[in-house]
Amino acid sequence: MQYSVHSVETDKYAGNTTWAACPACQLWFPVSARMLEPAAPPACCPGCHREFSVKESRR
């Protein structure tokens, strides 16, 4: 029985995490894909608690 290795190239090196940077203090933190949806609440910087839109932030 043999196994084939499939889609490892794209999957493994793409990772799975979106990061956002706080516009006020520049702290990077991970955000879920749901934070990019239109109905999402503003992101909240875990360092300084500044609220901002992930879509408009540096990612």
């Binding site: 196994y3 799975n16 979106t18 955000v31 879920s32 109905a39 999402a40 609440p41 909240c44």
Partner: protein
Amino acid sequence: MSRDLRTFLAEQSAAVWELPRGLSRRYELTALQHALDARGEYPVLLARDTLGADGARSAIPVVTNLTASRVLTAAALGLPDHRCTAEWFARRSAGGIDPQVLARDAAPVQEVVLTGDAADLGRIPALTQHELEPGPYLTAAHATTFDPDTGVDNTAIQRCWLRTARRMSWFPYPASHNARNLRKFHGRGEPCPVAFWIGHHPAVLMGTQAKLRYPQSHWRAAGGVLGEPLRLVPSITHGERIMVPADAEIVIEGWAPSGVLAADGPFGEYTGFLGPQTPAPVCDVACITMRSDAIYHDYGSGLTDMLVPDNMAMEGKLYELVKSVAPSLRNVHVPASGRRFHAWLQLAEPVRGEARDALVAALAYRRTKWVVAVDDDIDIFSAAALDWAIATRVQWSRDAIVIDDLSGSSLDPSLPAGASTASKMGVDATLPPAAAPGAPRPVPPVTTVPADAATRAGALRDGADAAGWPRF
């Protein structure tokens, strides 16, 4: 007397480390848990006069690392040996004992009732555990909701970030039964009633983690694991619609309004990684009740403190799942080092195909990712014994089963973005059976020494001074 957190602490006082006063709840207690984990030491930690981020002292003591030890947690269940959990837990949580309902004036958890502005979350000495977490979180809050269609309650540990005096965000994992109840209320445009109870005997904490169907009350299972009826009391805000354990330490009652989401997290998860910031419902606090000398319970998230009770409950669930297709199953171990992803199955003389049946059954459980089946000569609580079995009894192309697209945990850091299913592997590390009863297995014999020689060697070693010997 009913058993609760304080009866357990009194019984196990030798295992409790009462810390110096004035430790910070911001990182300091959690750092201590990490340091102890790294040394393989698992005392219960009791901290008085802890300091919040603002430097204010709390009169409410904090207990953490309550369930970091398998030995102590097994003792809480009344088990003489932590290695006997799987069969015991499957039996006791399936059996169940009906809860008993107390009048409010008989419920210790309602000795103090705080409403209005007095229901201030700032009174709760919650910890900020890890870097990149936005603030203090409840980590041992058992969120209790009910299904509006049937009235059946559901309870699960779910994190809450204390955002302001009267509002916290609350993260019911989207696949959880609490999230289903929440969606039903919100689908009707109604706020979801909820109560969060904190602090109880470890057997109750574990009993409420028994993995049940939907909708199915957790109170009976908790009583089964505790070995006596769980004493309940109607919550102040929601009455008999949401009962809470009368012998808990603290209860936070409130409503999750429809249409309100707040960014919650990042938060340290059982994987040892931080889960990302994500939209979560909020809970507006209506009432806080507590004992007059309440103790606050915290779970070290992603530490053995949280993994041990969860994994022991999971051993019970896997035992039940696997035993029904593989009667030769003897025992199950979900090692804390594998988080929730690894499970070791011990089988006694499985018939042809049975080890693979067992593997496939265990892999069907959402939390598992790698399952290994071994014979009953292998101690599944010894990483070295497991390693030996895998090294000497496996031909990978013959003995490994890889199955893609089974349900998995979205928190698995190795999954591609957006994946909702996982790739899993089972490994049959059992030896082939003997051709006839009493005949040797068709494999080489294992190296051994005679029993009397082993006894004499042990005695010789016990008489030696080993202080200067290398340990590794």
